[in-house]
Amino acid sequence: MSNTFSLKRRKGFEKPMQVDTNQICEIIEKHGYQSSALIGILQDIQERMNYLPRKALLHVSRSLDIPLTNIYEVATFYKAFSLEPKGRHTLQVCLGTACHVRGGARILSYLENLLEVKAGGTTKDLSFTLESVNCLGACALGPVMVIDRKYFGRIHIDKIEPILKKYRDK
């Protein structure tokens, strides 16, 4: 079976960010050293570092005495986590049912074409990570696109480029 994470690529990716163990310690402290808070800890690491660096996971594993296998399982099971650095902006396209019947999938495939990445991927210049999400609960506005938690409702294909332009340079 194909190996989706090639080792070389990930190593290359890890360079730009030095993993600061103090930050991780702080996050674990905030969650009261409870191993049941693993998901919350990973969420905070993801939020702060934009992805889950391997070193960070090793650190969590050691400090909370949770086997790395469990952490890796959690980190790859939930959609919120990424083991590779994400773009500066997260671009989500809602594919909930309401958005689906109003053409959400078309918005996504348009963006995939435009940004030259598949859903879940990050553009080469690291400016955007394109994601599909299952219902953001803004069904009245469908189809919905969200950039960094800002909602763009009733989105039309011809409205997309100008919006992206504003973010690309930021």
């Binding site: 079976m1 402290e29 049941s36 050691r62 086997p67 296998t69 890796y72 399982e73 099971f77 083991l83």
Partner: protein, 430 residues
């Protein structure tokens, strides 16, 4: 308690905590399983052991491997409906792994000539039964492999799909794998040898705890090793399975007091668990009953230094209070906020969420001084029985339901006396 039930129209009497699969197999009825192993916690994922169970006129399909038996149920292991389901399941597995002999044989047994489903990856040979992972976790205790991702993309592997330094190369996963998906790489053994660190690497049986410390002298080519041959002859199975009881990680209850293996215990009724460079401390299953109605729990502050025999915690319950001394010295590096906020958490979940503090131990501290392993179990059982004896001659479950509050209120002084002042006498005197 015994239950009476009917299996394929035959009445049987069985123990209360038996699972259906054990009984069915004991009766000589054969039903297929792929994810079951008697030494492992049932996973219930392959679903092949699905049987039909009727009770009070209601029929449902259950998996025999993890279905707890009930009184007066009627079980059918080979009804038309069951067979039909089993066939479709095997067809689905056949579409996943068309080349795997175990699945092919199952298909043949169920007279499936050609699966109706498309097989997109015929080279696939892992059915995700999880036997290897559970063996690695529950029996070997190495936690080297696990699942990753989910749904269709789920797979088995090491974290980050690189060589795991947790793997002790014991080969138990390869042994248990029903499809031959896991293979020990002999090349890998040579790589370890060449890597330099390899020469200090202990033998896999040493890592399993089966022999005393032994460094490999055969360059990790186990097939040339006498010890290896000897082990195989001795156990007639993979040695990892032979040592299973020693690695039993399930908590157990002594007269209602919970005991967790794998922890260190002290006469002060404090448990200790080394974590990275720190030690987590909490009160054990016996002392924790004193916190059942605690109003507050006073702990040392972060950064303070704690000496052995000094106060680790003070439990205040009404106008009663008790001081729990620390078994170790060190600097307090973390305090459990949850247990301070809701003090009876130390009673509700003493070993997990209800820990007390974490300390950076003094270099002179030796945690091995405390009870551990079999010693701990013996010590705990003795103490727990004694404690239970204080409130009831029959040493019944003291911690049950609402009565525990009453018991603790009534016997508070005796409990405190027993737990904190006579520890050593009891142990050595009897």
């Amino acid at each position: 308690m015994m239950f009476t039930l009917t299996i394929n129209n035959k009445q049987v009497k069985v123990r209360e905590n038996a699972t259906l699969l054990e009984i069915i197999r004991k009766m000589g009825i054969s039903i297929p399983t792929l994810c079951y192993h008697p030494d492992l916690v049932p996973h219930g994922s392959c679903r092949l052991c699905t049987v039909e169970v009727s009770k009070n006129g209601k029929t449902r399909m259950v998996t025999a491997c993890n279905f707890p038996v009930q009184e007066k149920i009627e079980v059918k292991t080979h009804s038309d409906r069951v067979i039909q389901l089993r066939r479709t399941l095997v067809e689905l597995l056949l579409a996943r792994c068309p080349e795997v002999p175990v699945i092919q044989n199952l298909a043949r047994d169920l007279r499936i000539e050609k699966g109706r489903f498309h097989a997109p990856h015929p080279e696939n040979d892992c059915i995700l039964c999880g036997l290897c992972i559970r063996t690695c976790n529950e029996i070997v205790g190495a936690h080297a492999i696990g699942f990753s991702r989910r749904g269709t993309l789920k797979k088995v592997g090491t974290p980050f799909e690189v060589d795991s330094d947790q793997c002790i190369a014991c080969g138990a996963c390869e042994f248990i794998c029903p499809t031959g998906a896991i293979k020990m790489e002999m090349d890998r053994a040579r790589k370890i040898k060449l890597s330099g660190t390899g020469m200090q690497r202990p033998c896999r049986y040493a890592l399993l705890g089966l022999v005393d410390f032994m460094v490999c002298s055969n360059g990790f080519e186990c097939w040339r090793c006498e010890v290896d041959q000897g082990m195989e002859d001795r156990f007639k199975t993979h040695p990892a399975f032979a040592i299973k009881p020693a690695k039993n990680l399930q908590p157990l209850s002594v007269a209602g007091f919970i005991f967790h293996p794998d922890l260190f215990y002290s006469d002060e009724h404090v448990w200790a668990k080394p974590m990275d460079q720190r030690i987590r401390l909490g009160i054990d299953g016996m002392a924790s009953v004193l916190a059942v109605e605690a109003d507050s729990l006073i702990l040392p502050s972060v950064g303070s230094s704690l000496r052995r025999k000094e106060t680790l915690a003070e439990v205040v319950s009404g106008h009663k209070r008790v001081i729990i001394p620390s078994p170790l010295s060190g600097t307090v590096s973390a305090v459990n906020r949850d247990v301070v906020e809701s003090p009876n958490l130390a009673w509700r979940d003493p070993y997990r969420r209800g820990w007390l503090v974490m300390i950076g131990p003094d270099p002179s501290e030796d945690i091995f001084r405390l009870y551990s392993g079999e010693n701990a179990k013996v010590w705990f059982a003795q103490q727990a029985n004694h404690l239970a004896g204080l409130c009831s001659k029959r040493k019944r479950n003291v911690c049950e339901g609402q009565s525990v509050r009453k018991t603790v209120r009534k016997h508070w002084d005796e409990f405190v006396e027993q737990l904190f002042h006579q520890g050593e006498e009891v142990l050595h005197g009897k």
